[in-house]
Symmetry: C2
């Protein structure tokens, strides 16, 4: 009687597979699990799940994962789920420290961008974005209730169509960053609600400017499974100083990105692997503006949905 | 400036890799994530995590997983964690429907068993075992408070040392199975506590016998992420009829296993892929015992810790 593939013995192992240890286990099992997928599964679900099963099983065989090791990993994953709420996504953080969010971010945007003249690069959203950040006028300051002498920054630039170079009107720049103590406002009871967040809308010239702070490196939350993984891997939890953006405009494909202080500690070993060269920026010391210690020029380039679909 | 590997472009793609689509993405990224592991990580953690990162990243690239797809999968995993309690392990169930628990079970026991004359095969524990099942004398019945005409079963056999063939004294057989309605007692408010569970201890002759029921197929819980996965894969949630055992004795390596009714529906397509040929059993109709409709003979073989370690 054929049971679902679990009864084959190792002598039938696949030839030509150079990976050690794979041969010791039933070579028919994984295909039997994949073959259980029914005819009504969508082609994409079938493809993705079959590949996931193959990789997970290969991972288990190549490393001879034991029941005890699996149970330990499973408990980490269950615990991540239990910690996840509207305010914290621990499962996402686990993916982030394994580089998975940065990778799918690259894949998602690369799928629509193989040209040399590219829109602004993307970076991961991270877990600290909030909907409905306050709206400001150009030239206003997103800092409230914090003594910030020494790191006040005037950021300015232009948003253009990546193909035509023309300025884009009606762009919403949604910006957020950490306070000098390394905490986002929702992590910190001492900060006013929505501190260091804001939304700005461009006029006909596509230009923007506002006041913020020069951000600092900070540790991702490491009191949960992601922290346990970092500790087991002998890794630090720090991210280099950065400012988050979602840039969107009518008719244009929105981008989620971060810009990174080129001189920040951890710029070469971001705990979540989000840094890209094209997103490195320079905070330039200035004395000409009594409201700012640094100037930060940066331009963004968007692609129309039409252009994005063509690329 | 070298940032953690995310800035390479695809022209440096690895040669000789025949997988499609892999080349489109930064070929240095995965190694950069693996290289982040620090010098104090244990060799086993380093090996397992490096391999997991490689497989997860290959999976993402080969299938061009998008941010939206990743977020959908992540939510399933977070939801599984949120549903997991002392009474239900949904993360385990997700692993089970992907064949992962059966695979690590095979690996774990295969690691200590390459001989031809083997101890009894193992099978997954599943989520329904409970500690402290009631202790019975040989010949007693684990059925309480259920009208069970037609499927009353007398199970009996012997537990021996797999190498010497000698009977083992002091073996604890911990047994549990479903009621005729397909539910374990902790899932069913109408069953008495600890119904259809029991522990039996062998004497000098290594023999055991007790009365139970002939089990029926039943669906694994499918109201959570595991059920969503089964539905997306167009698969049924049923397991073939089986009886669970943990067999342990002083000085012997305990085994977790299940025996399966050879004539049960779903014997060829168990939703969690646990069936093995050596665990198929026959319920033999009998008329000689007024307390039983079927007889079920089955012998178990254990290996001493010493023998298990040698194999």
């Amino acid at each position: 009687m054929a049971t679902n593939g679990l009864n084959g013995t190792a002598q039938g192992a696949v030839n030509g597979d150079s990976k050690p240890a794979t041969h010791r286990f039933n070579p028919h099992f994984t295909q039997a699990v994949i073959n259980a997928t029914g005819p009504k599964a969508s082609p994409r679900v079938r493809q993705v799940t079959s590949s996931l099963i193959q990789h997970l099983h290969d991972f288990a065989r190549e490393n001879e994962i034991t029941v005890d090791e699996w149970m330990a990993g499973l408990e980490l994953i269950n615990e991540a789920g239990r910690m996840s709420t509207d305010r914290r996504n621990e499962g996402q953080l686990v993916c982030d420290v394994l580089g998975f969010e940065s990778l799918v971010d690259e894949i998602t945007y690369k799928l629509a961008s193989d040209a040399t003249d590219e829109p602004t690069s993307t970076a991961i959203l991270g877990p600290f974005w909030r909907v409905d950040a306050p709206k400001f006028q150009m030239g206003e300051c997103i800092v409230s209730g914090i003594e910030s002498k020494g790191d006040r920054t005037w950021m300015h630039g232009k948003v253009t169509d990546f193909r035509t170079g023309e300025p884009i009107e009606g762009v919403c720049l949604d910006v957020w960053h950490t306070a000098p103590n390394g905490l986002y406002e929702q992590q910190d009871p001492d900060q006013p609600d929505m501190n260091l967040r804001g939304r700005f809308t461009t006029g006909k010239d596509g230009k923007y400017n506002f006041y913020c702070l020069r951000p600092v490196p900070y540790p991702i939350p490491f009191d949960g499974p992601a922290g346990k993984i970092l500790q087991a891997l002998d890794r630090h939890p720090f991210r280099p100083a950065h400012i988050h953006f979602i840039i969107s405009a009518p008719g244009y494909k929105p981008i989620v990105t971060q810009i990174f202080d080129r001189n920040s500690k951890y710029i070469e070993d971001d705990a979540v692997f989000a840094v890209k060269d094209s997103l490195l920026v320079d905070f330039i010391p200035i004395t000409s503006d009594p409201k700012a210690d640094f100037e930060l020029p940066y331009d963004f380039r968007l692609a129309t949905f039409e252009d994005a679909a063509k690329r």
